[in-house]
């Protein structure tokens, strides 16, 4: 479903794609009670949104319909229009991806991959990558605390804070590296490299309605992509 939304957001021309997708994402999120999570993602994207609007407003190449004159450069209507469209696409895209994160239980995703015969190494990589986010955040917090305790300035002016990059990034990298070897050995000690198929403990429920929706989404992706490729759209 998310894949459909992402493809639609980019492949459908003009306003149609992004707006349909935004509407779909927001309805789904409302139904799943995840609107708050999406609000957080929007907030995080706001600096990017601002800069896209500004750049297009003033610097869209070939735009010749000024809103006002301000010396050599000026805001243009087509710039504003194109900027808003780009933002709509960006938001549709990132909110659709965000919704996947907010609604998918990682263990169900992993169990489903295993059921579909995806190799155990690939599944482990997906699981470990997802797990890495919270553990890296926790580790980063401890590093910041330790370096601040050693007098590193994180509250002063920006030029002084900039000196903290190495002391903060260094332990993140070294810490991860020292852990890799231990993790590798721990996995081997648990027969990770045994040949043959893994036993599956969980079989996620997959009702007919879900299957129909999934196939419809795949079909829609194919149609959009083919249409776009054959030049019938946009």
């Amino acid at each position: 479903m998310a894949a459909l939304e992402v493809v639609a957001a980019f492949a459908l021309p003009g306003w149609v794609g992004p707006l349909i997708v935004l509407a779909a994402v927001l309805t789904t999120a409302a139904a799943a009670r995840r609107l708050r999570g999406l609000a957080t993602i929007s907030l995080a994207a706001s600096p990017l949104v601002g800069s896209i609007l500004l750049v297009n407003l003033f610097l869209l190449p070939g735009a010749a319909d000024p809103i006002a004159r301000l010396g050599p450069i000026g805001p243009t209507w087509s710039g504003l229009w194109f900027g808003l469209q780009t933002v709509a696409r960006l938001m549709a895209f990132s909110l659709a991806i965000g919704l996947v994160y907010l609604t998918t239980a990682v263990d169900d995703l992993l169990a489903d991959l295993a059921r579909r015969g995806v190799g155990r190494r690939a599944i482990f990589v997906v699981g470990a990558a997802v797990q890495m986010v919270p553990s890296t955040i926790g580790r980063a917090g401890e590093i910041v605390d330790a370096q601040r305790s050693r007098g590193m300035d994180t509250e002063g002016p920006i030029w002084r804070r900039a000196r903290g990059v190495l002391p903060l990034a260094g332990p993140v990298v070294f810490g991860a590296l020292t852990e890799v070897e231990e993790r590798t050995m721990a996995l081997e000690a648990r027969a990770f490299s045994a040949p043959g198929r893994q036993t599956l403990l969980r079989v996620p429920a997959d009702p007919a309605s879900h299957r129909v929706t999934r196939w419809a989404a795949i079909l829609a992706i194919a149609v959009i992509v083919l249409a776009r490729a054959s030049g019938r759209l946009g």
């Binding site: 580790r139 401890e142 590093i143 605390d145 330790a146 370096q147 601040r148 305790s149 050693r150 007098g151 590193m152 300035d153 994180t154 509250e155 002063g156 190495l166 002391p167 903060l168 990034a169 260094g170 332990p171 070294f174 810490g175 020292t178």
Partner: protein, 285 residues
């Protein structure tokens, strides 16, 4: 060196997504006191000491140094007065050489030149790493990386020294180094506050023991008072056991003998010495 009086007034702290970690803690730590905080993991010890240099700000209550509330003082400024050494060295080591790692703290405090070199050399000497000044920190084993992290805080020469589980993972030699660091800081009149799970270290190296349980101060007193038989039920409620000399002393009816030295002093000696000292005096000075 101006060693500050530390006061915590009814400090409570709650993590955004968790239960209250510190509840209504009031403590007054005089300049030059040596205090060890003991208690189960999760009892609030680490959360509490993070308030001493402003890493955490109390949800309610106040933290004062020499009578001044520190709520608006930057951590970078407080770090010059309160040095905090963390448990996990791999959350702070970043330099390519042991010596530059140790120099990082004092440099942040504005120390340069010969003074900086002298401090680095002295701190490395204190933890037994003088021969490793040019080594890459990650070429040292974990226990020596821990001592390096300790040296990096010692070199800041702060009037207050806070150590989070300094003896964990150390062998007998490493523990002896840590004991010497505590003793010499105390001798210089600095305040030392440590978190520990090592009851022998707690009883022998500190003048005051604070027991934490579920975010609150459960007991607070001298080692002799905290490890006296009367306090055992409270200790055990906090999942702690008294050190062995205290158990033996109580078994023999000699009063509170938290350390081997106190027990020896209380036992009838070869030449009649020993009985002279009243039971209940700890040999921790």
């Amino acid at each position: 060196m101006n060693v500050p009086l530390i006061e915590l007034e009814a400090v409570s702290f709650t993590y955004p997504d968790g239960p209250t970690a510190v509840i209504d803690v009031t403590l007054r730590i005089e300049p030059g006191e040596t205090v060890v905080i003991i208690g189960q993991n999760g009892s609030g010890k680490s959360t509490l000491v993070r308030h001493l240099n402003g890493l955490l700000r109390p949800g309610s209550g106040r933290v004062l140094l020499d009578g001044h509330d520190i709520h608006s003082v930057h951590v970078a400024a407080l770090a010059a007065r309160v040095g905090l050494a963390f448990q996990n060295p791999d959350r702070q080591l970043f330099a390519g050489r042991v010596a530059s790692e140790v120099g990082f703290g004092p440099r942040n405090l504005g120390v340069r030149g010969a003074e900086l070199e002298a401090r680095v050399a002295a701190a490395l000497e204190d933890v037994g790493l003088a021969a490793e000044a040019e080594t890459n920190p990650y070429d040292l084993g974990l226990s020596r990386r821990k001592l390096l992290a300790l040296a990096s805080v010692l070199a800041m020469r702060t009037p207050v020294l806070v150590l989070d589980e300094p003896t964990t993972g150390q062998d007998a030699r490493g523990v002896a180094r840590v004991r010497a660091v505590v003793a010499s800081a105390a001798q210089e009149g600095r305040t030392v506050i440590a978190i520990s799970h090592d009851m022998r270290f707690a009883a022998e190296c500190f003048g005051r023991v604070v027991v934490m349980r579920a975010g609150k101060v459960a007991l607070d007193g001298s080692p002799a008072a905290i490890f006296a038989q009367a306090a055992w039920p409270e200790l055990r409620a906090a999942y702690l056991e008294p050190p062995l000399p205290a158990v033996v002393g109580a078994g023999l009816g000699l009063g509170s003998t938290p350390t081997a030295a106190a027990l020896v002093a209380a036992l009838p000696g070869p030449a009649g010495e020993g009985r002279g000292r009243p039971p209940g005096r700890a040999g921790n000075e």
